[in-house]
């Protein structure tokens, strides 16, 4: 017990547990389930006592050691007593340990919204899940005082319906509950929608990308848009920030040539080169299907230009020749900051500077031209790759761009000569590692950059 409370204080700790549990644990409905501690029969007392101890252990871990000891000393049946006593004695300071809550955010949360049934239910679920996950062998918290518990259910999370029926909750449901919980919190924290994974925010695009890749080589992804369907409900928000970027027309356009199977060239490449926005490639052994006809070739030379004009959104930002880089922060960082307050995980000179990671750009809908994306870094440790992506993209679009000195170390390609001035960054090869993709879904980011570029061009 780091807080070092006296024995009398220790009893206080039992209070939130004992007092709140019945209301929280029994029922989703506000009306508490009949699980009164005091009503328990004599024969039940010792069991309940043990469970109360276990519960304390689960909830507070080591910090509850003193409480538990205390409880163990007490004769069974005495559980309810300190609780009442305490309530009378210390009505104003029932939970007064800052230390206690540091490590127990749930508890804290519970206190701030004690009368919200929905929140209580969430809390209940979360607590159940937590307990079940932490120690499957212990009874779930909901059983601590419950009249319906049976020892057969040890180790399985059981949900109690309003009518008292118990249902076992499987792992998947638990996962879903957890997920819903986290999503709800994220939304609350972020003002809704900002923390949606990028993968989902432009799902059509992502889909087409998956498709084209998957047919040729084993994909790094688990599969196309795994959870999109599940999440549909979450993001069907008209006011969602990204809604205007999810333009379905774009996706239709993208998918067209995939669907009809025509207008496609399948081949090998010998060389793909790019200078600024001019591309040259040497292809061989190809089959080309256009306008309903098949052509085969042994060798083909292609030249094309990237027509996107991303450079238009690259205006010098400020002093120091600090050019902008555009990259996507996929939001895996904590994203705790307010939009204009400098976002955690973004390299700004100081917090409070108007740094705008890609998420913010999305928020702006790329319409507000006074705001631009300053280069930033995610805290996923993949800065280099992200910046690589950006640089390559910008160069491909004929934009001049540079990388600020301070990011030099972030790059893995040391051959490139970086400078702080507005010089052209030499070609840098991406090191594309499979694990980077799988952990960070960078490919989707990449797709998104392109997507945004197009949007930008459109807007202009």
């Amino acid at each position: 017990m780091s807080a070092g409370p006296s024995g009398g204080d220790v009893r206080i700790k039992t209070e939130p547990t004992v007092k709140i549990e019945p209301g929280l644990e029994g029922n989703p409905a506000p009306t508490p389930h009949p699980q009164p501690v005091a009503v328990q029969g004599e024969s039940n007392n010792s069991n309940a006592h043990q469970r109360a101890i276990a519960q304390l252990q689960i909830q507070y871990g080591d910090r509850a050691a003193a409480s538990i000891n205390k409880l163990r000393e007490q004769p069974s049946g005495g559980v309810a007593q300190p609780h009442n006593q305490q309530r009378m004695a210390n009505p104003a300071i029932p939970q007064s340990y800052p230390g206690q809550y540091q490590n127990s955010p749930q508890q804290q949360y519970r206190q701030t919204v004690p009368h919200n049934p929905a929140a209580q239910q969430q809390q209940q679920q979360q607590q159940q899940q937590r307990a079940a996950l932490i120690n499957a062998q212990r009874p779930a918290p909901s059983h601590v005082d419950g009249a319906y518990e049976s020892d057969d259910n040890v180790g399985i999370l059981v949900q109690q319906a309003r009518d008292g029926k118990t249902t076992e909750i499987g792992r998947i449901e638990i996962d879903n509950m957890l997920h819903a919980q986290i999503a709800a919190r994220a939304r609350a924290m972020e003002g809704g929608g900002l923390m949606l994974p990028l993968k989902r925010t432009n799902k059509g695009k992502a889909m087409s990308y998956h498709k084209s890749g998957a047919n040729t080589r084993p994909s790094q992804f688990d599969g196309p848009d795994d959870d999109i369907k599940d999440e549909e409900g979450v993001e069907n928000d008209e006011d969602a920030i990204n809604s205007d970027l999810d333009d379905p027309d774009d996706n239709v356009e993208e998918n067209e040539d995939d669907e009809e199977g025509g207008q496609i060239m399948l081949c090998m490449y010998d060389k793909v080169q790019r200078v600024k926005n001019k591309w040259k490639c040497v292809l061989k052994d190809g089959v080309l299907n256009i306008n309903g006809k098949d052509y085969v070739f042994h060798k083909a030379n292609g030249e094309f230009e990237c027509v996107a004009v991303l450079a238009r959104c690259l205006r010098p930002v400020d002093e120091e020749n600090c050019f902008q880089l555009v990259y996507c922060d996929n939001g895996i960082g904590n994203g705790t900051g307010k939009i204009n307050g400098g976002i955690d995980g973004v390299t700004a000179k100081r917090r409070g500077e108007p740094t705008e990671p890609a998420l913010y750009w999305r928020l702006l809908g790329v319409v507000d031209r006074e705001k631009y994306l300053r280069s930033g870094r995610g805290n996923g440790g993949l800065v280099a790759m992200q910046i690589h992506f950006s640089v390559r993209l910008l160069l491909a679009c004929g934009a001049e761009c540079a990388v600020h000195k301070k990011w030099k170390t972030q790059f893995r390609n040391d051959q490139a000569e970086w400078s702080s001035g507005p010089t052209i960054v030499p070609e840098c090869e991406l090191s594309m590692k499979a694990e980077e993709y799988t952990t960070h879904d960078a490919l989707d980011e990449y797709g998104l950059i392109q997507f945004w570029c197009k949007q930008w061009v459109k807007v202009n």
């Binding site: 890749g213 399948l266 793909v272 052994d285 052509y295």
Partner: protein, 115 residues
């Protein structure tokens, strides 16, 4: 799959001839005429055959110009979406143009790169 001496890209299964073959095999399987395993073998054979034919038998060349819409390089596969493409065939200077083409291109380098 990647090349690996005996393995060949499955890339060309997306071509019209590959698609026709796949559809046919599909029909045969659904009519219980052949085993799915056999179909896989046939397709693997196709992968090899078309790669060899394109490499050894085909001599034609072409050049093309286009606007690049999107590009992607992942897993050693380049994907381009081109707009306003003009193809010039070497034999007879035939010109074909189209407004959209997608290129999917695997590395010509032997399996060493992948392995």
């Amino acid at each position: 799959m990647a090349t690996g001496g005996q393995n060949f890209y499955e890339l060309y299964r997306r071509s019209s001839i590959g698609g026709a073959l796949t559809d046919t095999l599909d029909d045969l399987i659904t009519q219980n005429n052949i085993d799915p395993q056999l179909a896989m073998k046939v397709l693997a054979n196709f992968d090899r055959a078309i790669a060899e034919v394109l490499q050894d038998k085909v001599r034609s060349r072409l050049t093309f110009k286009a606007n690049l819409d999107t590009y992607r390089f992942c897993d050693e596969v380049w994907t381009f979406q081109l707009k306003d493409v003009t193809f010039k065939m070497d034999n007879g200077g035939q010109v074909v143009s189209t407004d959209r083409v997608k290129i999917v291109s695997c590395s010509a380098k032997p399996a060493g790169a992948a392995a």
